[in-house]
């Protein structure tokens, strides 16, 4: 008999062997030498974790109890694999393109990254898997017990102690395997290889036992068939309802079991592996099931009636003294159990740490300055603790469920639990109308019904649900009895639970989905999931990795420009030791590319773009917000640019205007100089000509000589006047003029002006009409300057008024603090066109005939009036030429003092005005 110690030693040696394989595979993967690690065969074998200790031991027991019904457990997955094109292809493609890490992540991601859904699916998976892990514990414990039963001590070893050791060992084993390092994409090459090896071990072990049974114990195939006919197995009858339910259940579980999702989707290295797996995995299942019935039949005939059929695989060789074979079979069962536990624990710990621990940890304060190293440590610790906790739960279930139930029954409870995820999953893949609320409703309803009708009763009455509730329903309500819901009795508890839970699940999911409205991110994700192949018609994942790099290059060229993009890609490729322009899209390179792109389009946009191409098309709401922010900033920037260009246009317009004015001024200056030249040269010409005539002096009559001298004299005066005017204008315009302001009477100023022009009131040539009463106004002004203005206006009238009876009216009127002096003659007036220019320099109108002045008179008048704080304007519509001089009055007292002159107290000191 094999000793217990030897058994432990064999187990440890086997584990060490697996560990070595895993280690080698991991290090090869790290070096990038994938080779056979990425073969479809490995993928197919890794799928065999579907066949756990339940299938290894339990199938024989199942067959011994229920005949061919065990086949349903294999038919479900076979159907799924055969129809891989429909569901699996999409599932795997989405899983890869969205970087899905677990089934909880898939559901959460599909329904708008809802962490609540992730938490719920995680909890469901943990609770649903717990019986399954308990099942593995039970099977390993039982198999240990088989070897230990005939132990010399005679006393049966404490089965619970064995179970706890097994649980602890498996936990340690899983932690060592699954959480040695933290892989960004949650791939575990070493684990997958170890699982593949275990898959081979369990298959070979089972086949070996089968061959031994048929050809060693029995007399070949024919003999075995006869024995089967004789055994109770042949009495088995097909129950269509149960078959349909079980096939559905196993198919659903195949898709939704966390560990299956792990190996099928997360660990998938190449979507094309599905093509191989679609026929190879059913073949594996076929081989696994081929000898189940013969072993069961032989066990039933050869072994004592009280033997546990679940252990026929071990007990049959042992009963024949084939300890080596039994040991091999034990290793097969051990492989089945360990591979399942390892992968399930890894998958669950990923879910727990990602959806439960990390959100809580990140939400608690004080992690603002967290370094990535801390997070890694934190995640690893969370996963290790999760693994221990999950196995602890499995052990607890094993203890509380009594450890006595048949393996198959425990497995089905688990199946029914995890299958609740199926509606949300399939709905998410194929129905865009599926919403987060619908998924929540379906999951909660289905899971609640499952827990109430199957999971809790599985502990037996009195453990969690009181026996009374099981028998009569809660509060005695009969139709709520857990195993006869709504009064439907008499069907198998598993079928009953599956029926009700799935029905309520699907109905709630569909109804709530139809009634609720998905959020924007939900719709975005929904569209990406449902239309995943439309989004990438060339099915990127089906091609070699180069296409991603090529897409990245195409995008980078568009953004950075071809030269810069190609240089960047070439440099990276050569850094990776590759020729050409397409480096592997390593995380470092993607980060670098993102940074480069961010320089052009902003970091959020760059992240979204790279993410879109590399497949992590997970554009989160913060991502979108960041993109929107950047866009807003760019829009603001461009509107600033627009404003600036408007401002520039305005400045250019102002510059053009200033330039135009300068050009005009320059032209005016030329014209002014030209005019001055003319005004100076004309009298000088006369002076020169006559002085030459006089010098020659011959035969000139004395009166002629007299006349020519007079002309020379007049022209000299004219020149002097012109120079005076020019100087005066210059002084006035520069503001360097001294004004002596004092109160003067208007009448006196007018008298002085008339005297200076030589035009006297009532004179012959020009008649002056005045209003002496109105002229008795005192103004505070420079009397000399004001007289200069009046002289100019009176002279102009004398010069230009060519009416038959020339007349100049001088009207004085007071108006609101001002006095207005109008000079109106009865001549032809000034045309409207000329009115605009009369105050300009040299604006002699109409003809060039000099009338004594040089055309500077009105320009000087305007300057004087501006200095005196008054104004002079042309007054249109008065018949003849009319000018209005306005002066500000000093105040009301001025009028009272009319007639008084130069009141000393009011005399102001001369002051120099320096107005501009």
């Amino acid at each position: 008999m094999v000793s217990f110690d030897l058994l432990i030693a064999v187990c440890l040696a086997y584990v060490a062997f697996l560990f070595l394989i895993a280690f080698v595979a991991d290090s090869r993967a790290r070096q990038g030498r994938f080779g056979w690690l990425r073969s479809p065969l490995i993928y197919t074998l890794s799928l065999s974790i579907y066949c756990t200790a339940w299938t290894f031991y339990g199938a024989v027991g199942y067959a011994a109890r229920s005949g061919l019904e065990f086949i349903t457990i294999y038919l479900g997955p076979t159907l799924v694999m055969a129809g891989w094109w429909v569901v699996l292809r999409k599932l795997v493609h989405i899983g890869r393109s969205q970087r899905i890490t677990s089934i909880a992540d898939l559901i959460s991601s599909r329904y708008g990254k809802s962490n609540l859904l992730g938490v719920i699916v995680t909890l469901m998976a943990v609770i649903g898997t717990t019986p399954y892990i308990a099942l593995q514990l039970q099977s390993v414990t039982l198999s240990f017990a088989v070897f230990s039963e005939p132990a010399p001590a005679g006393a049966p070893p404490d089965i619970n102690a064995t179970a706890i050791w097994v649980a602890a060992g498996l936990a340690l084993f899983t932690i060592l395997f699954g959480t040695r390092n933290l892989d960004a994409n949650e791939r575990h090459h070493g684990v997958v290889i170890a699982i593949a090896v275990e898959a081979v071990v369990k298959l070979v072990a089972l086949v070996a036992v089968g061959v031994f049974v048929i050809w060693g114990l029995g007399g070949g195939a024919g003999d075995i068939l006869a024995r089967i006919d004789a055994s109770p197995i042949s009495a088995w009858e097909l129950q269509p309802g149960r078959w349909f339910s079980l096939i559905f259940l196993s198919a659903a579980a195949f898709l939704t079991l966390p560990r299956m999702f792990q190996v099928m989707v997360v660990e998938n290295g190449d979507e094309r592996h599905l093509i191989t797996a679609s026929w190879a995995f059913p073949l594996y299942l076929l081989l696994m099931s081929l000898f189940v019935v013969p072993i069961a039949a032989m066990g039933l005939t050869l072994l004592p009636a009280e033997s546990n059929p679940d252990l026929f695989v071990l007990t049959l060789p042992l009963s024949q003294g084939r300890e080596g074979l039994a040991m091999f079979a034990f290793l097969g069962g051990f492989s089945s159990a360990t591979s399942m536990v390892i992968v399930a624990a890894i998958a669950l710990s990923t879910m727990v740490s990602n959806h439960v621990v990390m959100p809580i940890w990140l939400a608690t304060a004080g992690h603002g300055a967290t370094k990535s190293g801390d997070v890694r440590k934190m995640v690893l610790r969370a996963r290790r603790l999760s693994i221990a906790a999950i196995l602890g739960l499995g052990y607890a279930y094993f203890r509380f469920s009594g450890g006595g139930a048949a393996l198959a029954a425990i497995g089905l409870i688990s199946f029914a639990g995890v299958a609740q995820v199926l509606p949300a999953m399939l709905g998410g893949l194929f129905w865009r109308g599926a919403t987060r609320r619908g998924a929540l409703a379906g999951l909660i309803a289905g899971f609640a019904v499952w827990a109430y009708t199957l999971f809790l009763p599985s502990f037996g009455g009195g453990v969690i649900l009181p026996q009374g509730v099981l028998d009569n329903g809660p509060w005695g309500i009969g139709w709520l009895r857990p195993q006869a819901l709504f009064g439907i009795e008499g069907i198998d508890p598993v079928i009953h639970a599956v029926l009700w839970s799935m029905l309520l699940n699907v109905v709630s999911f569909c109804l709530v989905s139809l009634l609720s409205f998905p959020g924007p991110l939900e719709r975005l994700q929904g569209a990406q999931f449902v239309n995943v192949f439309e989004h990438s018609p060339q099915a990127r994942g089906w091609q070699a990795g180069g296409s991603e790099a090529e897409d990245l290059l195409v995008m980078a060229q568009r953004i950075m420009g071809p030269e810069q993009a190609q240089a960047l890609f070439r440099a990276e490729a050569s850094a990776q030791g590759k020729a050409g322009y397409l480096p592997d899209p390593s995380p470092e390179f993607l980060q670098c590319l993102e940074r480069e792109l961010a320089g052009s389009v902003g970091s959020a946009t760059a992240h979204a773009m790279v993410g879109q191409i590399v497949g992590g098309a997970s554009v989160s709401v913060p991502d979108l917000m960041a993109v929107a922010n950047e866009t807003a900033q760019m829009m603001e920037y461009s509107s600033q640019l627009e404003a600036r260009s408007r401002q520039l246009a305005r400045t250019a317009r102002q510059l053009r205007e200033a330039n135009r004015k300068l050009t005009e001024l320059s032209i005016q200056k030329d014209a002014f100089l030209s005019q001055i030249s003319h005004e100076l040269r004309t009298p000088m010409t006369s002076i020169r000509a006559f002085s030459e005539i006089l010098r020659e002096g011959r035969e000139l009559a004395p009166e002629t000589r007299e006349r020519y001298c007079a002309i020379i004299h007049d022209e000299t005066l004219r020149l002097t006047r012109l120079l005076d005017d020019l100087l005066d204008l210059g002084v006035l315009q520069n503001g360097q003029v001294e004004l002596s302001l004092e109160p003067v009477e208007l009448a006196a100023v007018l008298d002085r002006a008339l005297a200076a022009t030589g035009v006297q009131q009532g004179g012959e040539h020009l008649r002056i009409v005045r209003d002496p009463a109105a002229e008795r106004v005192i103004v505070e002004t420079d009397g000399d300057r004001l007289a200069q203005v009046f002289i100019n206006l009176i002279s102009n009238a004398a010069k230009y008024c060519d009416s038959t009876a020339p007349e100049l009216r001088i009207k004085v009127q007071r108006r609101a603090g001002e006095v207005e002096i109008d000079f109106i003659d009865n001549g032809p007036g000034i045309s409207e066109r000329d009115q605009a220019v009369i105050f300009e320099k040299f604006a002699r109108l109409g003809d060039y005939r000099s009338a004594g002045g040089a055309g500077l008179g009105l320009a000087i008048c305007r300057e004087i009036m501006a200095r005196l704080g008054g104004s002079i304007v042309y007054l249109p519509g008065q018949g003849g030429a009319a000018f209005r001089v306005s002066l500000t009055l000093p105040g009301e007292r001025g009028e009272k003092r009319s007639g008084q002159k130069a009141v000393s107290s009011r005399r102001r000191p001369r002051r120099k005005q320096a107005a501009g």
Partner: protein, 128 residues
């Protein structure tokens, strides 16, 4: 050899001075003061030499010059242009428009007389 000269000028003192100098030299002096009617005056008088001021009321001397050079009867008429604006731009314009001579004010009587004599084809300084 004619000795008829037409003086188109608006400054009375200058008219008087030039008239005296030319008359003393034996010229038949005609004068006209308005630019607007100057061309007709030229055609009416048909002088042997025309003395034309630039700054005239009604029409500028340049415009009159342009019209005279365009008319067949006065195309080759010797014309002395007088201007008080002695800038080179004015000289260039005068030449371009076909003035026979150009003289800036103030001028000496002798210069004017010499120019007119030359334009009339008379020997310099010859007594009338």
């Amino acid at each position: 050899m004619g000795r008829r000269v037409l003086l188109i000028e608006d400054e009375p003192n200058i008219i008087e001075a030039i008239s005296f100098v030319l008359g003393r030299d034996g010229w038949d002096v005609h004068t006209h003061a308005n630019g607007a009617t100057a061309t007709e005056a030229v055609l009416r008088v048909m002088p042997d030499v025309l003395v034309l001021d630039v700054m005239l009321p009604g029409k500028s001397g340049y415009d009159i010059l342009r019209e005279l050079r365009a008319a067949p009867r006065t195309r080759d008429l010797p014309i002395l242009l007088l201007t008080a604006r002695g800038q080179s731009r004015d000289r260039d314009l005068a030449e371009e428009l076909g003035a026979s001579r150009f003289m800036a004010k103030p001028f000496s009587n002798a210069e004017v007389l010499e120019s007119i004599r030359e334009l009339a084809g008379l020997p310099p300084g010859e007594a009338p």
